[in-house]
Symmetry: C2
Subunit: 540 residues, 2 copies
């Protein structure tokens, strides 16, 4: 399927500048003026597709994107006129899952109507994004470079995610919706909502209303059911799944604000570091039936609210000392000598994963659940690998599916220094530059073909100890776009050429300026002079 890619010019970009780069792009050498670029569908029953078409027609109507390197160029000669684009979708099934087919084929003629064909409505959205990126403005004219254009495109990885932690610091709903927009501009398809943590519980619970009443930072720093439903709907209209994470049994201090009796090691001070990765300490008390019941019921509630088939149960950074230090746990273990902290934890996970299965959902977990407990999660569980790159081959060697999120490459919060009021670096320094992110290969050191197939995704993460609404866009963008390209397009062109950061720089400049034009405050990569003078700001 992946035939020869017309290698995108490293410097001149005489042709289309699409991010992420399509699998196949064959283009001509003429320029087509835009008479009308409006999108229509031949037959349309899906409201979600209809919404996406309206959205892209608005983008197309309002956007006048001039690539920075074209800033002083006049309009070229045109040899044809575009009169619109029509979409054909094989089926209008609105289901969105890991298995959704996102492929599309796009043809833009020298003159006439462009044609987009996709198997699913979500593939059609990817094609519309590509189409919107073909349009260039210059000297008052809009046109498409290098027609005719033939594009065949589909993602390399099924799960291309972005994690946002809304618990360490809160983000207003608008920030999340804007982030979903930005994700769609980069063909990302999973919003991993790390919604709660020790520091706050911002999401409404109907079973346990005190969770958010006492756990949210403020009445106006909460996500109501309606808010969550709006996020899910907004995401779906952009082909983005929302995977919620309810991290347990660690990272749960905020639960203790309303339910102290089911907790262990609640906010131990000043030696919190014996009990938790960061303050405040607190874990569900796995020796207590009431804690297990709480966790199961809570999962049951949120598995209804969050409609995606995957439900993330956390499981990272569990601290055994927290329980060993707990008098109730000690009493329980003394009365039950066949048990141990470890066996209690296994039992806790078994109950949790049953609760997820009872909802016909697939569990997702941080890698410690697999590697650092005696528990063997169900084989279909998706393991998120973060500790280092080596976690990925280890995970797939065990026959589990892996989402690659190594802190060393994909943690967007790193490099801001320590945050505990002492000078020093952060544990995951340095800052992950877009080059660093782009160079990372989730499949590195995995040669077995079956094991390679188990690497189903990649995910960048923004943990929010040092981020909030003031800095969100710039922390995420354009660096998340670097992973968006490598996870959609891979790093190897069809002709076997491994793309370098030097080669993609100009396209990423374009994508960054395009995003700024669309209201995303993505940070600049270089002086504007460099963006305007392709190739002039490279290491000799």
């Amino acid at each position: 399927m992946r035939s020869a890619l017309a290698v995108l010019g490293m410097l001149s970009l005489a042709t289309a500048s699409i991010w992420p780069v399509p699998s196949v792009l064959v283009n001509g050498t003429t320029n087509t003026a835009v008479g009308s670029a409006q999108i229509t569908a031949w037959y349309l029953s899906s409201p979600i597709l209809a919404a996406a078409i309206r959205r892209y027609n608005m983008i197309i109507e309002s956007e006048a994107f001039t690539p920075p390197a074209d800033y002083d160029k006049v309009a070229p000669n045109f040899e044809g006129t575009l009169t619109g684009m029509s979409i054909v979708v094989d089926h209008e099934d609105e289901a969105l899952s890991l298995d959704t087919d996102e492929s599309y084929v796009l043809d833009v003629p020298v003159s006439g109507v462009a044609k987009l064909r996709a198997k699913s409505i979500y593939g059609a959205m990817r094609g519309m994004e590509t189409y919107s990126q073909l349009l260039v403005s210059r000297g008052g004219f809009r046109f498409i470079k290098g027609t005719p254009i033939h594009i065949e495109d589909r993602p390399m990885l099924q799960h291309r995610g972005l994690l946002l932690d809304t618990a360490r610091n809160y983000y207003p709903l608008g920030d999340i919706l804007r982030t979903l927009d930005a994700m769609s501009f980069n063909k990302l398809n999973v919003f991993h909502w790390h919604i709660v943590d020790s520091q706050s519980w911002p999401v409404e619970s109907k079973s346990f209303p005190n969770l958010q009443k006492q756990g949210a930072y403020a009445p106006n720093m909460q996500y109501s059911y309606e808010d969550v439903q709006e996020v899910i709907e907004y995401a779906r209209e952009r082909g983005i799944r929302v995977i919620p994470e309810f991290d347990m049994p660690g990272h749960t201090y905020a639960v203790g604000l309303s339910k102290p009796k089911i907790m262990s090691c609640l906010n131990k001070q000043p030696n919190w570091d014996k009990f938790a990765a960061e303050p405040p300490s607190g874990q569900l008390n796995i020796a207590k039936r009431a804690a297990l019941d709480f966790a199961s019921k809570m999962v049951g509630e949120y598995a209804q609210l969050f409609t995606d088939n995957v439900f993330h149960l956390g499981g990272d950074e569990v601290n055994l000392e927290c329980w060993k230090d707990d008098p109730d746990v000690s009493t329980y273990l003394a009365a039950n000598p066949e048990e141990s902290v470890e066996s209690l934890l296994v039992n806790f996970y078994a109950k949790l994963y049953s609760a997820v299965s009872a909802q016909n959902k697939t569990g997702m977990a941080w890698e410690e659940t697999l590697f650092r407990t005696g528990y063997a999660p169900p084989k279909k569980t998706i393991i998120q690998s973060w500790i280092d790159q080596a976690s990925i081959p280890k995970t797939v060697a065990k026959g589990y599916r892996s989402i690659a999120s190594p802190a060393s490459a994909y943690y967007l919060d790193c490099g801001h220094g320590a945050w505990l009021a002492t000078a020093g670096n952060s544990w995951c320094d340095p800052f992950k530059t877009w080059m660093h992110i782009y160079n990372f290969d989730p499949l590195a050191n995995i040669t077995n073909v079956e094991q390679r197939k188990l690497v189903i995704g990649a995910e960048v993460a923004l943990w929010s100890e040092q981020s909030d609404s003031t800095v969100l866009d710039a922390r995420l963008w354009p660096r998340a776009a670097a992973m968006a390209e490598t996870s959609w397009s891979g790093k190897v062109n069809a002709n076997g050429h491994v793309r370098t950061t030097k080669e993609v720089l100009q396209r990423l400049h374009n994508q960054r300026f395009r995003m700024v034009g669309r209201g995303i405050m993505a940070e600049p990569l270089q002086p504007l002079w460099c963006a305007r003078n392709p190739g002039a700001c490279l290491v000799p």
Copy 2:
């Protein structure tokens, strides 16, 4: 003068939370309700002071600042009521210079009118900022904690600056004005405007209009004379001097766009690194009379436009290879065997500094002018030390005044990785955290009392290769506030106690949230939970 400082409570902050901390703060234990906080002046002739009073009255009227740790506290009992504040200024001279007296004395009684006394109108502004920071809101009430309060305050360093590079990337006028506001909230008093560089020449020139016509990024990316005058006026109303920098003879590629004949090594590619610290290369051709005449005339023009007594001539990162490689320079040197590239450079500087002196101004220069050429600048020249900490003692040992701007502590752009499309760190990694900045002592390793007096200032710098309007506030704040405190207050309390970052954390949280409330998108230091729970997020 510096009597015992009532040590600010490390955790509880039962009393005032002022940033930067005053030299002397003696306070009581009662709380005073705010009846009126409006500021009046006993006698008022200065329009600048009148503008400052109007500004602070607006801030006072609109601000309802609740320190994060007070979020859930109700209003305390009040034992008195504030009925306003009155200012007495010894003289209403509006001159603003390095020697301006910024001291003030502020008294807030348990009941009645607060009194602010200052020697100058600019000291009065510092006192009004302090006064505005005393006001706290809680449960619908505004009050002042810990009255009666007596404050005596004055800066340790005369020059407390912030450098903004508006050439690598452009900042709209509003960004600069907002930055001046933020500076005034932190008692900074010098805006070092690194206005031009190789990448662009955004400032209007009347003598050489093609400079900005060809050198600015775009017609709407320029600072007109009126814009510059607005910046200077806006700054003066906040007690901030504007020191312009016209960096020469290096960092001048943008001049070459309109005046290629007076340039050397213009945009050498791809081996720009032989000729410049970063692309594009280009230096004024010091062998050409026309280049010297241009530089002198240009300095003459801008020394008129920029009213401050200090004029920065740059002089950093001059590259001798650029000239040695220039055929015109070679021809000149062949015809003038008594000359050398070095002697030409000395001659160039002599002419430049004469042009500055002719305008009755004091020159300011990057340290290379002093240390890396044969030129001896006039003794009153202010030397900016940036290469490392050791540059500061070296400078004052030579009898020159030093502004401390070591890249290792005060460069706010560092830590964002390389920007030349190759993975790798930046030359000045890591990121300078606020703790790092706070811990730096400009006077380190200088024991001689006379030499210590020559360290007249400190300056943080934001070079803009990887910054523009999208990220400005968060790159600057609250980190610049860390230097604002150490340069205003020093690091040692009157009782000899050296403040630690642990101790000042909570006040800095307050200052950060106060700034966000005033419209400055300063980045968060920690999870909000930490800001609300003083002392709970420290390294054990």
